[in-house]
Point group: C3
Chain length 156, copies 3
């Protein structure tokens, strides 16, 4: 296989929380670092990751996330999500993980292809003006499959 086609990964980002934005971005970046072709497809809540007005304000999901180590009841109290978000951002900074906006710029510069999902944009009434310029194209799900042929698919 390696002679015919280069290795490729296709990462679908469907969630808009800070803790689920990073896994897709980090896996994409790691793929590019070792020369694997990489495309990202942002759909549903994942559009927030490439939305100019939202990408800097992604929040950690605290409620219903028992891994946070706080009771669900507390997670529902205003401010808890903000606190968890600020804590996670601090920890990410300490270990020198770039912000979401920086990750998008790095991915684009590294040659990863960023795409937005047409249907999700229609549903949320978004236009390309709402998105960062690094987004290369708006794709239908059919376009996605055509471009993702032969790729290892990761749905986050």
């Amino acid at each position: 296989m390696s002679e015919e086609t280069p290795r490729k990964v296709a990462i679908i980002c469907s969630k808009g929380t800070l803790d689920m934005a990073y896994p897709g971005l980090i896996m994409a970046n790691a793929a590019r670092l070792i020369g694997i072709d990489c495309m990202l497809f942002f759909t549903f809540w994942g559009l927030d990751i490439i939305n100019k007005n939202k990408m800097d304000k992604l929040q950690v999901a605290t409620v219903g996330n028992p891994s946070m180590g706080m009771p669900t009841f507390l997670g529902g109290i205003p401010g808890m999500g903000a606190m968890a978000t600020s804590m996670m951002k601090k920890e990410m900074e300490k270990i020198e993980i770039p912000t979401v906006r920086e990750m998008i710029e790095i991915l684009d510069a590294s040659g990863a292809d960023l795409y937005a999902c047409k249907m999700a944009m229609d549903m949320f009434k978004l236009t390309t003006d709402d998105l960062v310029p690094e987004v290369k194209e708006v794709l239908t799900a059919t376009d996605f499959w055509e471009k993702a042929e032969g790729a290892q698919v990761v749905f986050v």
Copy 2:
């Protein structure tokens, strides 16, 4: 590869919320539209998508979903989830996305294979009578891997 075996995708639907039911169904439909073999495996909460009595009542997850644009605290107030669900259904209708039930019928008619997970059915005490007739077979996880050989796997 294209000479030997046709391209195939295997989509695992493990969530029962409206916003996470659609990505799997839409990706499956898109795959069939361009002639890619497609199987769907419904497991855990994803069984709700093919449960005759639940499929029309799937709800959008609002709490702990910061992307909804409302504070977690508000998401916990009775009625907020229902409101978000009704809003999403209206938006989906406007852009002519079929209902979940219609998507299942379309997928079946298009030749996609729908399977239910045996272990999850046992856990939730479901029988095939609880499921829509479009479900072709109940599979174990082992059966799944056998049928999914060579497929691009999407776990939603």
Copy 3:
């Protein structure tokens, strides 16, 4: 393909809830049962699954999970998550599904390779002392892609 390289699956466990720990573990086990090479990569909240002090206390996410069949509002009441967790554990036991700790032991004994994500460990300030001995190695995301070449990828 079968002549050149053995079939392989790479399962990424990114969630720490009981209901999302099982799908990855069960799919990994099923793969091993039919001789498919299998690696698991635990990252973000998924580290809880291999954390000695947390793996026995994973909770079902009730809030924001409409599939649980209880209103979001109730899910936020202290004790509801615990009740759902205890119910799920009972149902899993009835159908003879091993505990999470047992699943990890079974996977290791069956030849599956368990890896922890370096970045997530740094973020959560964990060391290998916090993890079960079945974890073979701590990997970067780049290492993950190198080991996962040719694998069907499942991101849970």
